[in-house]
Symmetry: C2
Subunit: 412 residues, 2 copies
């Protein structure tokens, strides 16, 4: 008999019909003789609707009250799923974050979990045969104020509970069957990945494939919690995410990911002297703008060109910041290019294999796709190309690394 934590997202809970489907899915797992803890998000668009309502009352809603408001969404889900389970003849019991004592710090709207004080309440209910249904996303401070864990926080609740309960596995039930080698929407023969390391998952998730919240994967890595991303509508195995050492056969490249959310900022003829980059990126960070890739060209005539990418939504904000920086640094001018796309190759095997980058670059060159920026990490190589070339680039690279279904069947 295994102890399984199952997490269902808001899209799976949007209507009574979908909730009944989720109920049946939980019962299937229970019937196998397993102990089940279910973690749920708020139904459908509930959270967004609550936020909209709040902004009608305040341009800048108080964060303590925002948490009080938003936590009602998950509370609705736990009550409804539990009553549906009870209706089908199963013992079920719902708990809010407060009731199981998910203790957090006081950082409202993005609190961090400190510990789970009421874990024995869950253990006791499991022992009595209950399916335990816990509200994701929410916690409570020492002062009993309600907090929330930030977007995607229900994933974190699931992982934290799995860790505290020493669960055998923490399942994330999704519309998709697992994590794919590339977005099946643009790569026809993209293949479901059987197993991934935590680091690979994080690198894949940080771009397009937003399957799991990265903080949750990091938490799982720190505590070695085995994750399983699988489909709500199938009983097939999905993608297991586990520690690198446990992955028997390390593939060189696990997947290709991309995004079209970034813009490239170039500062031309920046005075090239110590402390300049530090100054620039401090100013940008202070404005709350996240910088992704950074490239600095070789210096010529005492100046250098500096390029970096930011999220497009921050373009307006950065223009003000760049104006300020220019007053101080007197660079020549800046360019903003929001027609770029980023394509990345991810795989733990890269650490030990050479030639991955050049293989990627050749695949792009063969298709005459120009590379505008390059950045590499231990298990990821990213390039910036024209936005309209992204789909072509992903397909070319996917093929070059033999990631498709056909390639796999040939290999076997």
């Amino acid at each position: 008999m295994a102890l399984i934590v199952q997490k269902y997202g808001g899209a799976s809970l949007a209507t009574p019909e979908k909730m009944l489907f989720v109920t049946e899915r939980i019962i299937k797992e229970k019937k196998k003789g397993n102990s089940i803890v279910v973690v749920v998000s708020a139904p459908g668009d509930t959270t967004d609707e609550l936020i909209d309502f709040a902004y009608k009352l305040s341009k800048n809603p108080d964060e303590r009250e925002m948490d009080m408001l938003l936590s009602t969404g998950e509370q609705k889900s736990i009550a409804l799923i539990s009553m549906a389970l009870i209706d089908k003849g199963y013992k079920a019991k719902s708990f809010t974050g407060a009731q199981v004592g998910i203790l957090t710090d006081k950082t409202h709207t993005k609190a961090r979990i400190i510990k789970i004080k009421g874990i024995n309440k869950i253990k006791e209910a499991l022992k009595q045969g209950y399916i335990v249904v816990v509200a994701g996303f929410q916690g409570i401070t020492e002062e009993e104020d309600i907090t929330t864990l930030g977007r995607g926080g229900s994933d974190l609740t699931a992982v934290a509970l799995a860790q505290a309960l020493k669960a055998d596995t923490c399942e994330f039930l999704k519309d998709v069957k697992g994590v794919f080698t590339a977005n099946p929407g643009i790569v026809k023969d993209a293949r479901k990945i059987d197993v991934l390391s935590y680091d690979e998952m994080m690198e894949l998730a940080s771009d397009g494939a937003e399957v799991l919240q990265n903080r949750s994967v990091e938490y799982a890595k720190n505590y070695n919690v085995k994750l399983h991303v699988r489909g709500t509508f199938t009983e097939e195995e999905g993608t297991i995410i586990t520690k690198e050492e446990d992955i028997m056969e390390k593939v060189v490249v696990s997947g290709i990911t991309y995004n079209k959310k970034e813009a490239k900022i170039s500062l031309l003829e920046v005075p090239d002297k110590p402390g300049v980059a530090a100054f620039i990126f401090k100013k940008i960070a202070d404005a709350g703008i996240n910088v992704d890739m950074i490239i600095q060209n070789i210096s010529q005539k005492g100046t250098t060109d500096l390029s970096f990418t930011i999220l497009r939504k921050d373009i307006k904000k950065i223009e003000g910041v760049l104006g300020e920086i220019r007053k101080k640094l007197q660079f020549k001018k800046y360019l903003i290019d929001d027609k770029i796309g980023k394509v990345s190759v991810v795989g733990v095997g890269m650490k030990t294999h050479i030639g991955i980058a050049s293989k990627m670059f050749k695949a792009l060159a063969d298709k005459k796709i120009n590379i505008e920026m390059i950045s590499t990490s231990e298990i990821k190589i990213s390039v910036v190309v024209r936005e309209e070339k992204v789909e072509q680039a992903v397909n070319a690279v996917h093929k070059a690394f033999n990631l498709g279904q056909k390639a796999l069947s040939v290999e076997k």
Copy 2:
């Protein structure tokens, strides 16, 4: 500086605009230098919508989970009202029933308040200058399960808090300006009542004028909490409800009330022997049917006729019960009449004045309105008439007792 508990119902909180209006109303009271505790219901139709959703998942929703679900409605209201108050520059803080420790028994969906454990949390916040916003309708058991107090339970929360805080007054802000001598919709010159005793309020509320939940008035009576029913849209004084001894000038009749929700059941030729009535009404009570008025005629030839009124919604249910009773008792037949109306005269002065009943009967007789049943209590006389005569009857009695505005101005 006074300490005031203000309770706002769901209709006042149905939209962001209405919530902003309520916010301004609270601020007006705060600006007078008073300490304010606000108790709110769920916004608009939220509770009914949640119930509808629940019934899509279960024909017979588990009551613990129902309470978990319904309590989210009030939690939304407290968060939204608090953020609106903060937005206007006031210190405000919301609390759920659990957070202020409104301890109840375990009777889910209609729990009774045992005590308020966290009252010091509210006192502390008030001392720090906060407007405290508390979720009505909800409590928590010793085991930390969420409970609700039944329909109208937010009124009870307000009264219980007012008692525990020793508040100067407990205000109920309504669409109407107070309690009226009769429904202004049918009696043109109905007048707002300045002061009522708890008993009068209960008798008035038990019929048409559902201004306050009766359990709350009873609670207020037991603990001597002064209530004030007043308009949300005016700053005029409304109706004060207080103990009889504090009412300086006791009027004979305070108001006329009516309802058209009941049906008259008549059992003909029931064997007249000891224990028969007990048997019949035990059976009816066991079926969960509330009986209001009961009349038994004089016995003739060893049988008697028995009439009583029940709510029309219970007609279907009582037919089954009467079938059963008949098997045992062999009465001749039963009649169901759902075209009746009940008109009542309420007033503490009745206790010491004679002739109230005859004055009422004469007013009806003058209008040729036939009286079908009569029942009297210490401070109330009720008659059953044809449903279509109710408006005429209320007006006639209202006039007979000189309750109108004109009458008042003449008296002065």
